[in-house]
Amino acid sequence: EAGVTQSPTHLIKTRGQQATLRCSPISGHTSVYWYQQALGLGLQFLLWYDEGEERNRGNFPPRFSGRQFPNYSSELNVNALELEDSALYLCASSFWKTGGMETQYFGPGTRLLVL
């Protein structure tokens, strides 16, 4: 079974540009989570999509946005890039089953560098 995939693996942008990161969940998973892992700041929750809807977002400005497509893949967009947006962006997917323990499985991440 294929795991969570993310593209691109690396992305280099300049300040003010826009970045688009993509995530394909494990087959059968309907929830996608995005986390940011910036140096010195640890892992922080960004966004949660479930069944095509945004369910929750972390303490990030509106220029961080995304969507989930009908096939449950997801896209994270970061507008007006700032230097501090440089980080590893991790996507995780999961499937909620009544009475079951929902576990998030992570992709390999996209490393974004803003110059």
Partner: protein
Amino acid sequence: AQTVTQSQPEMSVQEAETVTLSCTYDTSESDYYLFWYKQPPSRQMILVIRQEAYKQQNATENRFSVNFQKAAKSFSLKISDSQLGDAAMYFCAYRSAFKNNAGNMLTFGGGTRLMVKP
């Protein structure tokens, strides 16, 4: 809001020996899940072990086991017979047990870097 604390930024263990990584958390919820994830230099987060708060029995996965103390809000990870491949960052994480819009994300501790000496 829930918080997760890993008080050991770095730990070192000799190959084949046992090491315990500490994790404490703070929550007012009665039902939740706890996880240990491993992040090797490749940066991919790998699930090591998970525990459901309402289960008294400590989870075990091969060489990995946990010591879950619910009253003390402690969730330590024991790695037995340490191998060179165990060298990585280890993150403890908390998640609410209920599917709701407020708190289904993982809350992570700051991580512990484990070094394994040959």
